[in-house]
């Protein structure tokens, strides 16, 4: 049996999958004051009358960390920055105590300025005065050579509860993102630890034999304890759960659009050849661009509960939500009222919905039916417009080689998968607006929980090899080794595959051989004077987020 749970802002959805089929699903209210209570309630209901020992996997998508950040309920952090030359780093002072250190590493990973130990001693005093228990240490180009971050950790750990080192978060180059990500990671460490501890003891008390996994924004998972080092990776996993669910329920190998239509927002994502597109750098949370790997998801302020009004003799929808539909006692008409007025949705007071829609249409001289249709057309057109703009953006992303400029591959979706509560009713309107077939899977309402249940561990790994310096670095796993002059791109690829597979095993990957792919690889001859002095090799590998366990969707492992 597999369990998937997606904790949203208002609801927590959970499903139980057995024999490749969803055999039970529940929806409970999320209690923002006690996240664990929502988890407990949902799982207790799913497991009622079943043997918890037969549960093979529990995947949780949780908003614990996201909420703490969004609501400012995080812990104060001491940030140690080694900015080196470049941008004025003062804008990066996002923590309670920010210390700018001297010393620098360059693009090749060479030390160009040494770390000053005295500055660390002074920093300790500042941290003590502010009562700081969690630190983040981040250097520019630390992914090319983590020596200074490691030195900082060596000198400070033991005196603090937790230290995030920037180079362990991602192999990507983007110092400001590394700073923000490290800061957020330390700031949610405690809140996550408490949640993880509570989940673990709940599992023990229920007799569960396995360690739960936590879902990430890239549609992969990591173990409850694995996330203790990188709790920031658990942020904004909800959209990923829905995308994975949509793909599990309506699989395909083509280019497609995935829509998750909710109450106030619609999330838009894309697949190329059946694989979801990723954010090129990482997800953005509030004011913070991060290095947290994530699907490319764009959220627009249009949903079933968006308020509808007339502006300039036209129907205007959203982006704000004023409350529930009029039919359910709300203050302003919504697209849901349009469905109710049309008799498509048997909830609430239809009379109230008709009255509200009629009121809107009066000034335009439209009938109730025409007004309701016009609202739903407008909603669908808003979503279609956003899809078009995003496609345009995605198809004009920069490339850096002649080959890529001349052989551009365009994303051309042939179908749309729509999930979320309003999706089944909105389908004909979306088809008209998008000019594409729209599939709405039968379990569209709990696609998020299904997606959570079927996800597997994922990881990426960046490898830099510099044969002139004779060093290979894989920052995310803290790996460094000496390499010879003849070390080649092929050697680097083999090394990266082996290191990633090892990492996946550590993250709890048990599903046979992981399907590892190269996402970027470059090898440059370094020439000084007239001689080739070495090779500069950069490689990024990952395993794709994969689905398993649902009949008709991917491989069945359940």
């Amino acid at each position: 049996m597999l369990i998937g749970l997606d904790m949203g802002g208002t609801h927590t959805d959970a499903v139980l999958i057995s024999g490749g089929e969803v055999i039970r699903h529940v929806k409970v209210l999320t209690d923002p004051a006690d996240f664990l209570a929502s988890v407990r309630e949902a799982l207790d209901t799913l497991l009622e009358g079943r043997d918890p020992a037969t549960v093979r996997r529990i995947n949780l998508s949780t908003t614990v960390c996201t909420n703490a950040i969004v609501e400012g309920k995080t812990e104060p952090v001491g940030l140690l920055l080694e900015p080196g030359p470049g941008l004025n780093p003062s804008f990066l002072a996002c923590a309670k105590v920010n210390v700018f250190l001297q010393g620098s590493i360059d693009h090749r990973g060479r030390e160009t300025g040494s770390l000053k130990v005295g500055e660390l001693e002074a920093a300790k005093e500042q941290f003590a005065a502010a009562g700081i228990r969690c630190l983040a240490a981040v250097g520019k180009f630390s992914v090319r050579n983590p020596a200074h971050e490691l030195e900082i950790a060596k000198r400070l750990e033991g005196s603090y509860d937790f230290i995030t080192l920037g180079h362990r978060l991602s192999g990507r180059l983007a110092f400001p993102r590394r700073v923000y990500t490290a800061y957020l990671n330390s700031s949610v460490w405690r809140v996550y630890s408490r949640f993880a501890e509570a989940v673990r003891s709940y599992g023990k008390s229920r007799g569960l034999k396995i360690e739960p996994f936590i879902l990430k924004a890239d549609g992969g998972t990591l173990t409850l304890s694995g996330a203790m080092n990188t709790p920031v990776e658990t942020i904004l996993s909800g959209p990923a759960a829905s995308i994975m669910g949509a793909l599990a329920l309506a699989p395909g190998e083509d280019d497609c659009v995935i829509l998750d239509v909710g109450g106030t927002t619609t999330d838009i994502a894309f697949c190329a050849g059946g694989v979801p597109l990723f954010e090129p750098q990482g997800i953005r949370l509030g004011p913070y661009p991060t290095l947290v790997r994530s699907f490319f998801v764009h959220s627009i302020g249009l949903g079933g509960d968006s308020s509808v009004r007339i502006a300039d003799r036209r129907m205007a929808i959203g982006p704000q939500r004023q409350g529930p539909p009029v039919a359910l006692g709300g203050p302003a008409p919504t697209p849901t009222d349009a469905f109710i007025a049309l008799g498509m949705l048997p909830v609430g007071d239809r009379g109230l919905a008709v009255e509200a829609i009629e009121g809107l249409g009066r000034s335009l001289g439209l009938s109730v039916r025409a007004t309701a249709h016009s609202i739903l057309d407008e909603l669908a057109a808003g979503i279609a417009g956003a899809v078009g703009r995003l496609l345009n953006y995605l198809n004009s992303r920069p490339v850096y080689t002649i080959r890529e400029v001349l052989t551009e591959r365009k994303l051309e979706p042939r179908r749309v998968i729509a999930v979320g509560a309003p999706a089944p009713l909105l389908k004909p309107f979306l088809e008209k607006a998008l000019g594409l077939p729209v599939e709405v899977p039968s379990l569209a309402g709990v696609a998020n929980a299904v997606g959570a249940a079927l996800s597997h561990p994922t990881a990426t790994l960046a490898v830099f090899a510099d044969t002139e310096r004779g060093v290979l670095t894989a920052p995310e796993i803290g790996w460094q080794e000496r390499i010879g002059r003849s070390f080649s791109l092929d050697d680097a690829r083999q090394r990266a595959f082996a290191l990633l597979e090892r990492r996946l095993r550590e993250l709890g990957y048990t599903e046979g051989t992981p399907e590892i792919e190269v996402i970027e690889e470059q090898s440059f001859n370094m020439v000084r004077g007239f001689y080739t002095v070495g090779r500069n090799i950069r490689l990024k590998v990952q395993n794709r987020p994969s689905l398993g366990g649902l009949k008709g969707g991917g491989n069945c492992h359940a």
């Binding site: 900015p83 030359p85 004009s396 920069p398 850096y400 001859n525 007239f530 080739t532």
Partner: protein, 437 residues
């Protein structure tokens, strides 16, 4: 995150799959460390900075500027067309008002490519700034444009293309041609008979330091720009004046380049040369980007920087001051100088030897221009390149051609003896056509 006071468009085209040859300065690795630095700084996350995707320039965009012998595709490769296209994308971003400024960090460079192209000169096949400028005029209407070339080498190609055009001011500061390729770029090279003074050259002595460059900008370039009042300022942003550059002898720094950019306020900067790929380019490009965006560049610093590395001797300071004074005086007297040089003459000819260093070709030119007060004047060039077995006649009808110059040009093209030449070309700018027979 940060917000840029000036919206900036970036076109980054490092051509990671192209080199002139494996150990040539123009090789795959050239912009690798620049990209590392720019990415690591998080430049593209700054609010107001947008990256654009390059596209190849069209054959027509090239033919608007060059006479490639025998044709464009024989002389310009994919990398050249994409580098030029990168500049077009940058120009579109600015002229459509999407950004305030743009920087095309592209390779290969272009400022040594002249009107007639038999091959590669100084790593350049086609002139990407000129292709961009003529595209701008075609697409967005007439403009007065100033090109400020801050590459260490004299931009003899750009000078040649705009030699007769007084709507395009070309100012170059570079290492003295007696000590560096291509050997040209002195004060007497002052523009053609109808555009006298609209080419200005300031040959700086080897070992010119930060002070000298900034002095020239403040005391010559800015005052001339003030007089010329351009609609657009284009910077040919070569970075080989850096103190670490392996093929030149100057003492400029990344922060100096940033300051120069801040003073100049170009609308569009286009990368030219610069071959200190680790010690200079990452920092110079970053400095230019920050200065264009209006952001603080005072933290940009090469790891091995010291004030001594960018200092210049006293004699150089004095020499540059004198040079700037003389050049500015000549600029102010350009109308009188023209009147004297064209007095009583109907046409003016010059003979030139153009050397294509990369392939070792020699071209011999005889160029003639009609003295004209109504337009840039009809120009024709009789050009031989024995190494290629070519002897061509190229006729240039200028953008603002007066009826007489147009008629003369058409006549010349029609009547040219087809047996004498391997090719006869007519570049008709007003009609945006290149005819070849």
């Amino acid at each position: 995150m940060l917000k840029a006071p000036h919206r900036l468009g970036l076109v980054f085209f490092p051509a990671y799959d192209w080199a002139i040859s494996p150990t040539h300065p123009e090789r795959e690795e050239r912009l690798l460390y620049t990209q590392d630095q720019v990415w690591e700084e998080g430049i593209l996350d700054i609010d107001g900075i947008t990256e654009y995707r390059p596209r190849p320039a069209g054959i027509k965009d090239v033919e608007r500027v060059h006479i490639c012998v025998p044709d464009v595709r024989s002389r310009a490769g994919d990398s050249d067309l994409i580098a030029a296209g990168g500049a077009l994308v940058a120009a579109d971003a600015v002229l459509r008002g999407e950004v305030d400024r743009a920087f095309a960090i592209v390779r290969p460079p272009g400022h040594h490519a002249q009107r007639i192209v038999y091959g590669n000169r100084g790593f350049c096949n086609i002139n990407i700034e000129a292709i961009m400028i003529e595209y701008i005029r075609r697409r967005y209407g007439p403009k007065r444009i100033a090109i400020v070339d801050t590459d260490c080498h004299h931009g003899d190609g750009t000078q040649d293309i705009y030699w007769h055009d007084k709507d395009t001011l070309y100012i170059s500061i570079h290492q003295d041609g007696r000590t560096l390729y291509p050997g040209s770029g002195f004060l007497p090279e002052f523009g053609g008979p109808n555009a006298c003074g609209y080419t200005l050259n300031l040959p700086l002595p080897p070992e010119t330091g930060e002070e000298g460059f900034l002095y020239a900008v403040e005391n010559l370039i800015l005052p001339v720009l003030e007089d010329f009042r351009p609609d657009l300022i284009i910077n040919s942003a070569g970075q080989d004046n850096h103190y670490t550059d392996p093929i030149t002898n100057m003492r400029f720094s990344a922060r100096g380049y940033a300051r120069l950019t801040e003073l100049l306020q170009p609308h569009i900067a286009v990368l030219e040369g610069g071959y200190s790929i680790e010690g200079a380019l990452p920092y110079v490009n970053l400095g230019i980007i920050l200065a264009l965006a209006g952001l603080d560049y005072s933290w940009v610093r090469e790891p091995d920087y010291s004030p001594a590395k960018v200092a210049q001797p006293r004699e150089i300071t004095d020499y540059i001051a004198r040079l700037c004074r003389e050049t500015y005086a000549a600029w102010r007297q350009r109308h009188e100088i023209r009147a004297r040089s064209v007095a009583g003459r109907k046409e003016i000819s010059r003979q030139r030897r153009v050397y294509y260093d990369t392939e070792g070709l020699l071209e011999l030119q005889k160029e003639t221009t009609l003295v004209c007060d109504d337009c840039a004047g009809l120009t024709w060039i009789d050009s031989r390149c024995a190494d290629r077995g070519e002897h061509i006649l190229a006729v240039f009808i200028p953008r603002d051609a007066c009826p007489r110059c147009r008629q003369e040009g058409e006549k010349l093209f029609r009547r040219a003896d087809r047996r004498t030449y391997t090719g006869v070309y007519l570049q008709d700018r007003p009609e945006d056509l290149l005819l070849k027979e």
